[in-house]
């Protein structure tokens, strides 16, 4: 029975194909993921990967990896990246350039901003169902918290808290102010 099981394992999934994108915006870029849902063998080894493209100085909103470390390899272009630890200290603030590798520990907050017309990367993650939690935008943790909790926490008005929650309409990738389409 080995030929029906081990020998026929599916060991490949293409995440570079644009038509296969999981998150897509024509102006800002795309993100595709491979995990144990679309490549089941990964469940046994608790690994997954993500491929992303950021265009025209777009940015990926601040987020953290909920259940995995992430090892980012820059395929093309360059990006400004900041990583923050549990003390609120910036542990990385610099450019990630083509051919370089950057480790993002679990739960450390990160923001990426393309510094070239196109930044392309692949991230390897140490969980077969790696998840991110965004800190700004439509699906963010901030949006799930009552405005009055934010107002008291940040010592701002409820209107300002509401702006923090609802002003960014996108969920993951967004236009930066240097982008051609920004301000529309």
């Amino acid at each position: 029975g080995i030929e029906e099981t081990l020998c026929s394992w599916r060991l490949k999934e293409n995440i570079g194909d644009p038509s296969r994108a999981d998150i897509y915006s024509p102006e800002t870029g795309r993100i595709s993921t491979v995990n144990s849902f679309n490549l089941p063998i990964l469940r046994q080894y608790q690994l997954s990967a993500e491929y992303g493209v950021l265009k025209n100085n777009a940015l990926m909103v601040p987020y953290y990896n909920l259940n995995a470390h992430s090892i980012v390899y820059a395929i093309r272009g360059r990006a400004r990246i900041q990583i923050v630890d549990n003390y609120g200290q910036t542990v990385f603030d610099g450019e990630l350039q083509q051919g370089q590798v950057l480790t993002v520990p679990q739960n450390f907050a990160i923001v990426k901003r393309a510094e070239s017309e196109r930044f392309e990367w692949v991230s390897f993650k140490t969980n077969d169902n790696a998840m991110i939690s965004t800190l700004a935008g439509k699906t963010s943790a901030i949006r799930g918290i009552p405005a009055d909790v934010l107002a008291n926490a940040f010592q701002i008005s409820r209107e300002e808290a509401s702006r923090l929650k609802f002003n960014r309409k996108e969920s993951t990738v967004a236009q930066g102010s240097g982008s051609p389409g920004a301000g529309r």
Partner: protein, 269 residues
């Protein structure tokens, strides 16, 4: 390696009953923790913390690198565990024109809110932001177990808290250590890195211009959330009376309302 380390840590000659050895006073409460580097806790791969929240006190949103089990020893309140990507199912859709006199209601929508009371056990998964508010008349006292050796934690065996707001001290770190790190951070900030590095919440480590772009708000607002002059601690007093959130009444409140409304408004249609 971790397993071997844990095995060595479990060579205990004597086990002791321990009192908390670190206390952090906050504006509206107190956080007490037991030294997680003590052999007993290292052996078990856990950390323990006790929180006291005064009436009208708010425990600021934060998440931990490990799952937590919380037992409510005393008091009652509301809390939220916020899962990124889940919809905001608690919504206030009433317009402000319908609100009548008195305090104007603020329209909002957010994720589910839970009530908790004495005797409850709450589970908070690793990496999920959590906040709590004491809406009762007595102090809320809770004790939490943080399972740092759980598979969900891929970092080291130190309990780590990531604060989403405020400028709180860290529960498990002696105050001298915090002061030293604060000074280091402050001097780094003065060297012009662009970040407010003496402040503790995760937003402080980011460049305010990039955050302003990410949130699509003005930079001044971002600078206010990166406030390093906030000395209220992790449990703060809610300003202007009770916290205003969209939430269903508790069973007790609902019964009271049902009994009261015919008396108050008469029985006509």
């Amino acid at each position: 390696q971790q397993w071997q380390q844990t095995q060595n840590q479990c060579q205990l000659d004597r086990i002791q009953a321990l009192e908390p050895n670190n206390r952090v006073e906050c504006e509206a409460g107190r956080i007490e923790s037991w030294d997680p580097s003590h052999d007993q806790f290292q052996c078990a791969g856990v950390a323990v913390v006790r929180r006291k929240i005064e009436p009208n006190g708010l425990l600021l949103p934060h998440f931990s690198n490990s799952p937590q089990l919380i037992y409510i020893i005393k008091g009652r309140g509301i809390n939220g565990a916020v899962i990124s990507g889940c919809p905001e199912t608690f919504q206030d859709s009433r317009g402000s024109s319908q609100q009548g006199q008195g305090r104007r209601r603020f329209q909002d929508q957010h994720q589910k809110i839970h009530h908790f009371r004495e005797g409850d056990v709450l589970f908070i998964p690793a990496g999920i932001p959590y906040w709590a508010y004491n809406n009762g008349n007595e102090e809320v006292v809770s004790v939490s177990l943080i399972d740092v050796s759980n598979n969900a934690n891929q970092l080291d065996l130190r309990p780590r808290k990531f604060h989403l707001a405020g400028n709180p001290e860290h529960d498990f770190e002696p105050q001298e250590e915090q002061r030293r790190r604060g000074e280091q951070g402050h001097s780094r900030g003065q060297q012009g890195s662009g970040q407010r590095s003496s402040c503790n919440n995760v937003f402080c480590g980011f460049d305010s211009r990039i955050l302003a772009e990410a949130f699509n708000v003005d930079q001044k607002l971002i600078e206010r959330i990166q406030n390093d002059n906030d000395d209220r601690g992790q449990i703060v007093k809610v300003k202007g009376g009770e916290l205003q959130v969209v939430r269903p009444p508790s069973l007790q409140d609902e019964r009271y309302e049902q009994e009261e409304s015919p008396r108050r408004y008469g029985r006509g249609n």
